[in-house]
Subunit: 212 residues, 2 copies
């Protein structure tokens, strides 16, 4: 039995969804609300698998609603209901913790399928949205795996990481049980490999390349 909660300010849509869910074997609507506030106030004592939330709600927006809901129940599966697949709000919702999107005109069979999907750890969304996400994904991740040919040894990574945590040479030496001069030695090699001449530049380059 998949337990669903609905947050949607339009009465017709909300009741329609609730009726669909309660009318289907294996699904049950355990709560329906017309704003985030009332939903959030009951969330901690609610047994729920999947939340359907309108993205454009009066009062607290759906996006803020996600953030707050995730703080109460981090593993909640939240599906956003949208009218248009506006990429800006989609990304915000994704970052806040939404796991999928449904356009409001989605046919009932698809909708139930999406709810099941979400409850099983999937992320149902249109393939148009998926493509947008992938494009952003590629921009950030892509770079990281691309130009990783600069390889620092494990020890060098340890030293550099420690450095970026704000430790000075002496502190790094103490943490790694080596002498300060050895730390210097590693730093030297790191500078040579990354073609830099200062801590800041090394740390910046390493983070941007995904080395630390």
């Amino acid at each position: 039995m998949i337990k669903v909660a609905i947050i949607e300010d339009n009465n017709t849509i909300r009741e329609g969804l609730a009726a669909l869910i309660n009318g289907t074997v294996g699904y049950s609507c355990v709560g329906s609300f017309d704003d985030c506030e009332s939903f959030l106030s009951k969330l901690d004592r609610m047994d729920v698998d999947v939340v359907l939330m309108d993205i454009g709600l009066p009062g607290m927006s759906g996006i803020d609603g996600i953030t707050k809901a995730k703080k109460i129940k981090p593993d909640l599966n939240i599906l956003m209901l949208t009218v248009y697949e506006d990429s800006q709000s989609v990304f915000k919702a994704l970052c806040a913790g939404a796991c999928g999107f449904l356009v409001k005109k989605t046919p009932p069979s698809r909708l139930l399928e999406a709810i099941k999907d979400a409850s099983e750890g999937g992320a149902p969304m249109s393939s148009l949205i998926a493509r947008q996400v992938i494009n952003v994904f590629r921009q950030t991740q892509g770079k990281i795996s691309e130009e990783k040919e600069t390889d620092l040894s494990t020890r060098e990574i340890e030293v550099l990481t420690s450095l970026s945590d704000g430790n000075n040479y002496q502190e790094i030496a103490d943490r790694l049980f080596i002498s300060v001069d050895t730390v210097r030695h590693h730093i030297r090699n790191i500078y040579r490999k990354l073609h830099v001449h200062s801590q800041s530049e090394a740390v910046a380059k390493a983070i941007r390349k995904g080395l630390i």
Copy 2:
């Protein structure tokens, strides 16, 4: 008419796919290959919308195949054929330029739908893969918008950026037409605001928070 090319080393599967595509109105198979090399050598004079490519090919792997194919035709829509949705190879394929995934046992109707989707700018993939992508997406993007409450002034950002480029105080001063002591002053304030005590820590924190 959607023009499809197939790269798949298993004869049965390849011929099955070609037959399905050619036997469906609105779809046409314009090429089928059993390795990447022969596909790539013909790609520049091929009129093709969507490529179906096996991810585990003999010789050049599907992943490398994507990279090379994208160099020849950057707008190509490449769908990967996989047996298992192994997250590591999925991510690599995505970064290389794949726009979607099909497990090999996908029913014909879904397969044709996915090809159409891809040709129209979508990214067909299972919602399980989508969730994995989103999780990584959130890790990188999410942080940036989350905790930006620490705000440095424009001048401080300039100083910090210059620092991460490997400039020392004197060089920063020269670039910003201010005195070295003013640079020190800004650095001091940056340290106070970020709660750090060294260049490296400041740069690391700033990059990770998306400030620079």
